[in-house]
Every structure is written in structure tokens, then in C-alpha cells.
């Protein structure tokens, strides 16, 4: 089995590199007279940072989305992730979570091969406590909505941080909280700043005048995400109008999506449809599909886990890059750092 490729070393020239790669990239591209002095200076600074990390001011106290203060007496060495977010963030920090939960009984494909080296901790809403205990993690990262009733159990096993993870603000705050606990706050800040910069860069390049909708379904019940959900927020940063619009209760983060009737979908008639869940097109027999612009123009795509769990640094960047390509294929090339299994695929609707 091959060793995992750190996220910062992934070969994608178009990817806006996270914090860890920023300084080295700038220097290798410029072989000037200052190259070696700068390199030496950088090495010295890096050594200082490492030394200061080792001597970080623990105990560190952070607050999670439960408004609970958690104090870390020392730097956590092992992290178990009972949501994809934790594993994603660890990857962005060039580390690896020891255990990971599943969504719909599948490991998230966008995380690539590394998931095979993590212990399967069961479905995201029903953690296998026995396996988690065996891992004996210093830090457990989870989603508040699934873990609230069992929080005390998690706290018996290790330090526990629970997050809401709906909006971009949630994503940024969670990244800062975890990286502070890991004494990597600077990296966390850089990840957030880089993503914001990347969004701005893409926004400048995006032509706009496209509408889209992000749906998921169970049997013949369709749901669509509101504006404030991170994936649809990214969509809007690409000058794409989210056809579902804003939540009727904007002050509340939940619900982040709502039931969508086919009649309403027909009225909204977006240019692009992104559909999560299932291999088959959702209720493909329904007569409305054939009347939709997106279907007629073959712009309906089945998307993967990262769109419904986009709050990690890796996921949100993948979503941004892939969405940009799906909405504006002429302006944005297809990102090449997404594993095949996690790529968006066209959905076809045969007339019946």
C-alpha cells in the first residue's frame, strides 16, 4: 500500500496551495541571487516555529459550537474524526486522522486512499464506541447534530469538539478552533485566508448569468439547499444564482434545505442541477425532468460527498474548483486533484 500523499504536495498547479506550501513555492520559482540566503532564513524561521510549537503555551482552552470550553493540557497527538470534517482538516495540515466515520455506510471518496488507513468508526450518526475507545484518541472531532446525546460518552474517551457546520462562517470557526487546539492556529488562519482569496479569484473570473440548484433525495422526495449552506454559498460566489433562494427563517442555520416539489423545480427551471445521493437519477420517471433546461442541455450532474460535507479545507476547495468547471467549462478547466470516484458525473434521464 502506498504512503498517503500529503495534501500540500498534491500535484495540481492550478490549486491554490494551502499555507504549508506557500513559502517554498514562491522561492523555487525564483532562482535569483537571493535564493540561498532566503532559503537559509526560511529554514531558520521554520526551525523556530517548530521549536516554539513544541514549547507551545499549553494548557490551551478553546470553545466549540456547544459553547463549551475545552482545555488541552498538552498538544493532541492522535485525532479521531467522527465526521468527515476532522479527517479533511487533518489532511490539509499534512497529518492523518486515526479513525473516520462513514456517510451512508461509505467512506468519503474525495479523501482518496488515506481513508483505508483509518479505522472505520461506523456511520456518522451512530459511532462505534468500542472502536473509538480502542483508538484512544487525544482529540475527537464530531458534528453536534449527531453527537449531542452522547457527548459525555465521547468526553470519557478523549477531548471532544463538536461543531454545527452549515455555513462558511461555521467552517472557518471550526478550522480555527481545531487548529488552536493542535497549536497550529497560523496554519488554520492561512487555510481560511487562502480559501477566501481563491473564492475572490474565481469570482473575478466567473462570467455569471447561470442559475443552479443543489438537490438530494430519498425515494421520490426531493430536497434543495438554501443560500446559506456552504456549498450553495460557494455557488453564489461564482456568480451563480441558487434557484432555491434563501431560507424563510434566515436567522436559523437549520433547516439548511427544504422539500422541493417537481412543480416548483419546473418553475425554478435552473440551468444546472447538482444532485446528491444514489446512482440512479432521482425519480427519473417524473414527466417534469424532460421539460427542464438542465436536462435538455445535459447539465444535470450527480455529485459526491464533498458537496454535502464541504466544511473541511480540502472539500470546500474541491467543491469550488469543480463547481466552477461545471458552471463555466470554457473558463475553468476540470480540476485534476479529485479522485475519480468523487468526481461529478452527468445524469441522464431517458424519456418514458
Amino acid at each position: 500500500m502506498s504512503a498517503p500523499i500529503p495534501y500540500s504536495q498534491q500535484n495540481d498547479s492550478r490549486r491554490h496551495t494551502p499555507f504549508t506550501q506557500v513559502s517554498s513555492q514562491a522561492m523555487t520559482d525564483n532562482h535569483s541571487a537571493f535564493y540561498w540566503p532566503v532559503m537559509l532564513m526560511t529554514t531558520f524561521l521554520a526551525s523556530l516555529i517548530t521549536l516554539s510549537s513544541a514549547m507551545a503555551d499549553y494548557p490551551v482552552t478553546v470553545q466549540d459550537d456547544r459553547s463549551k470550553s475545552i482545555t488541552f493540557e498538552k498538544q493532541p497527538q492522535s485525532v479521531a474524526s467522527i465526521s468527515v470534517f476532522g479527517a479533511d482538516l487533518m489532511w490539509a495540515l499534512d497529518q492523518q486522522a486515526t479513525g473516520l466515520s462513514t456517510l451512508n455506510h461509505r467512506q468519503s471518496a474525495y479523501l482518496g486512499d488515506q481513508v483505508s488507513r483509518m479505522k472505520d468508526l461506523g456511520e456518522v450518526h451512530e459511532t462505534d464506541m468500542e472502536r473509538l475507545t480502542e483508538l484512544n484518541p487525544d482529540l475527537i472531532i464530531g458534528l453536534r447534530q449527531y453527537t449531542e446525546p452522547f457527548a459525555s460518552k465521547f468526553e470519557e474517551i478523549g477531548q471532544f469538539l463538536a461543531f454545527d457546520l452549515v455555513t462558511q462562517e461555521d467552517s472557518e470557526q471550526a478550522i480555527m478552533t481545531v487548529t488552536r487546539a493542535l497549536d497550529q492556529a497560523q496554519q488554520g488562519q492561512a487555510l481560511n485566508q487562502n480559501f477566501q482569496a481563491l473564492k475572490e479569484e474565481f469570482k473575478q473570473k466567473a462570467p455569471g448569468e447561470v442559475s443552479a440548484i443543489l438537490i438530494w433525495h430519498w425515494a421520490d422526495t426531493l430536497y434543495a439547499f438554501y443560500n446559506h449552506y456552504l456549498s450553495t454559498d460557494i455557488m453564489q460566489s461564482l456568480k451563480v444564482e441558487n434557484a432555491m433562494g434563501r431560507s424563510p427563517t434566515p436567522a436559523l442555520k437549520k433547516p439548511d434545505s427544504s422539500v422541493l416539489s417537481m412543480e416548483r423545480l419546473l418553475r425554478l427551471n435552473p440551468d444546472v442541477i447538482l444532485s446528491f445521493t444514489g446512482d440512479e437519477a432521482p425519480i427519473s420517471y417524473h414527466p417534469v425532468w424532460q421539460r427542464l433546461k438542465a436536462v435538455q442541455n445535459k447539465r444535470v450532474y450527480r455529485i459526491n460527498d464533498q458537496y454535502v460535507m464541504p466544511h473541511g479545507p480540502v472539500a470546500r476547495e474541491m467543491v469550488l474548483r469543480e463547481m466552477a468547471h461545471l458552471f463555466y467549462p470554457d473558463q475553468f478547466p476540470a480540476p485534476d486533484n479529485i479522485p475519480d470516484a468523487a468526481r461529478a458525473k452527468p445524469l441522464t434521464f431517458s424519456e418514458r
Binding site: 456517510l103 451512508n104 455506510h105 456511520e123 456518522v124 450518526h125 451512530e126 449527531y146 438530494w216 433525495h217 430519498w218 425515494a219 421520490d220 422526495t221 426531493l222 430536497y223 427544504s258 422539500v259 422541493l260 416539489s261 417537481m262 412543480e263 416548483r264 419546473l266 418553475r267 445521493t277 440512479e280 425519480i283 420517471y285 417524473h286 414527466p287 417534469v288 421539460r291
Partner: protein, 364 residues
């Protein structure tokens, strides 16, 4: 003229006059219900994400042009309306049959275990077997029939005695509900849609659903109407019926299977909207009692064949009231796309409570 005696007093009524009033009373309720259905139905076709004028609705109903308005009205709203009407009628009649064959006023199609069996089979199909939505009818009907069969098989030994039939049905319902709960707790994390369906829904129903449902419902409704006389006799004590040579067990089985057919097909297409089966027959009985008390018909005249106990009237009226309830509930449900099962309780519940409080109940 005939004289009828009661323990308290003596009444003199005209037999012909009595029959005429009975007919008028039994006709009034369906006429009122059909009027409500017509209004609610037209509103269902006109109201939605896009509002249409009455003239646009009538034009769509009468023309065959290929316009977007006609597509929305005829391809999206009409099948939803018809599915709701068929489901409501089926559940209203099934509830009435179950209440009668078990002699249990709290009887609902759930009492035979059919709703639970159908729901379990459908969720099993999605969660474990990953079947497409088009398999819902087959799975639901198969599950409902399996549950109904088990209920009758367990109670068969006691000649389908009402109490044993009830207990048997409850056991089977609990068994399948336990299985359903097990599936729900072991299901994927995205189970919102599953709960939505389990609350009873008419969202996104198409002509395909109407095609799947109408035959079962008309078959069941026909059987119910044809077998209403034996159902009247089933209300008698079993010993008395048998002494009169009436094959109690056979008719209880036939009528029970009728309710199974009606319920299984409906749950498969619209999810479990069980409240309709409970409330529709009671609303009919309470309204009939109210009508009778307002008329000049005497208690004594009615005691010979209480109108609210005559299944020739009760069954079709339960079907009509059930259809009305679902139709009106869905009209409200579509405003925010709330599951129609919840709206049936929210709209039918207060009506039920009002009638009970006003009437002080009725004798079963």
C-alpha cells in the same frame, strides 16, 4: 300509519315518510361532501407554486393544447388530486370495514397490521435492497398482504373472533413496526426523506401512481358496497348470526381482505395516512346522528335500523368523507409541502373533536 312503542312513550309515524327522510338524510351528506371535493379539487388545480385563474383551469380541463399551464394542471396537479381522492376513499372505507368486523370503534386499517407491513416492506426495499421508487407499489402491496395474511392466519383458529382478530392484528402491527424501527435506526444518516414518506405524502405523484392505485381502490370499493349487507349482519353477536345460518367466519375473512386490498395499495402509493381510516367513519356516524336528531324521525323508528349503523349507507359515505378529508388536507399541505398525513390530523382532528363535543358521542 303505524304505531311504534318505546319504553317511555308511543310515537306515530308514517312509514313512507320515514323512508323518504332517511333517503334525504343519507343523500345530503354525500352531496355536501361532493360539493366540498369539487371546490377543493378546483382549488387544488388552481393553487400551487404558480397560481392559475379559474378560466385557465377550465381551459386546461377542456382543451388538448400543449401548453405549460395545461402540463402543470393535467400532469402535475391532477394526478396528485386523484391520488389523494382515491387514497382517502380507500382508507375511509377500509377503516369503516375494520371497525365493523372487529366491532371496535377505535379500529383503523393499522389494526390489521397492513399499514405497518406495507411500510416495513417499502422501507426494507429502499434501505436494504436499494430498490428504485417504482418498486414501491409491489413492495408495499406485498408487505401489506403478508401482514394481513398473518393476522388472519393467527386468528383463524378462533373463527376470526373480533377480539382475537384485533389482538392478532395488533401483534402483527407491533412486529412490523419493530422491524421498521430497526431499519430506521440502522438506515443511512439521510433519513429525512424516509420520515417524510412515513408521515404520508402526495408530493410528486404522477399518473403512474394513479394507474397503480385506481384498480385496487375501485375493486375494494366495489367489494365494500356489494358486501355491505353481510357487514350489517357481522355487527350482530356471532352466536346469533350463526344461529341464523350466517357464515360469520367466511364473511369476516372476505371483508377483512377487502380492507387489506384497500389499505395495502394506498400505503404503497401515498404512505400511511392512518388517521383517515379512524376518523372518516366516525364523522359519518356523528353527522348522520346529528341529521337524524334534527329531523322529525323518532328514535323508535330509527332503532329498528339505525341509519348510522347501516353499512349500505355508512361504507360509501365513509369513502366520500375520507376522500374529502384528504383532498382538503392536501390543499393546505401543499402551501409548505408538509406531509398530508400530518395535515389530515390537523384538519380532521378539530372537526372530530368538535363533533364529539357537540354530540356527546353516539352508541356504537
Amino acid at each position: 300509519m303505524s304505531q311504534l312503542s318505546s319504553p317511555d312513550k308511543t310515537f306515530t309515524v308514517s312509514a313512507g315518510h320515514s323512508v323518504g327522510k332517511r333517503q334525504r338524510i343519507s343523500l345530503l351528506l354525500p352531496v355536501v361532501c361532493l360539493f366540498i371535493i369539487m371546490l377543493a379539487g378546483l382549488a387544488s388545480l388552481a393553487l400551487g407554486d404558480t397560481l392559475f385563474s379559474w378560466s385557465a383551469v377550465f381551459q386546461s380541463l377542456t382543451s388538448s393544447e400543449d401548453s405549460m399551464t395545461r402540463f402543470i394542471i393535467m400532469e402535475l396537479r391532477m394526478p396528485r388530486l386523484l391520488t389523494g381522492l382515491l387514497a382517502g376513499a380507500a382508507l375511509g372505507m377500509a377503516g369503516c370495514i375494520v371497525q365493523s368486523i372487529t366491532r371496535n370503534p377505535l379500529g383503523t386499517p393499522d389494526l390489521m397490521g397492513v399499514s405497518a407491513g406495507a411500510s416495513f416492506a417499502i422501507v426494507l426495499g429502499f434501505v436494504v435492497l436499494s430498490l428504485p421508487p417504482s418498486a414501491m407499489l409491489v413492495m408495499g402491496t406485498a408487505g401489506g398482504f403478508a401482514a394481513g395474511f398473518l393476522t388472519f392466519a393467527i386468528a383463524w383458529k378462533t373463527h376470526l373472533n373480533p377480539i382475537h382478530l384485533t389482538l392478532s392484528g395488533m401483534s402483527i402491527a407491533l412486529f412490523f413496526t419493530a422491524g421498521l424501527t430497526l431499519l430506521l435506526v440502522s438506515a443511512d444518516s439521510d433519513v429525512n426523506g424516509l420520515y417524510y414518506w412515513l408521515a404520508g405524502s402526495l408530493l410528486n405523484r404522477t399518473w403512474q401512481h394513479v394507474d397503480q392505485l385506481w384498480l385496487f381502490v375501485f375493486l375494494g370499493l366495489g367489494m365494500g358496497v356489494i358486501f355491505s349487507r353481510p357487514l350489517n349482519l357481522l355487527m350482530l353477536d356471532d352466536m346469533t348470526s350463526r344461529a341464523l345460518g350466517f357464515p360469520v367466519q367466511r364473511w369476516r375473512l372476505i371483508l377483512g381482505l377487502t380492507s387489506v386490498v384497500l389499505t395495502a395499495a394506498t400505503v404503497a402509493v401515498a404512505g400511511p395516512i392512518s388517521f383517515v381510516g379512524l376518523v372518516a367513519p366516525h364523522v359519518v356516524k356523528l353527522l348522520l346522528k346529528q341529521s337524524l336528531s334534527r329531523s322529525s324521525l323518532s328514535d323508535a323508528a330509527e332503532s329498528a335500523q339505525p341509519l348510522q349503523m347501516d353499512h349500505r349507507i355508512l361504507l360509501p359515505l365513509s369513502a366520500i368523507v375520507g376522500a374529502t378529508l384528504v383532498c382538503v388536507a392536501d390543499l393546505v399541505a401543499r402551501i409548505q409541502e408538509v406531509p398530508v398525513g400530518i395535515l389530515c390530523i390537523l384538519t380532521g382532528g378539530p372537526l372530530f373533536v368538535y363533533l364529539i363535543r357537540k354530540q356527546g358521542g353516539y352508541d356504537h
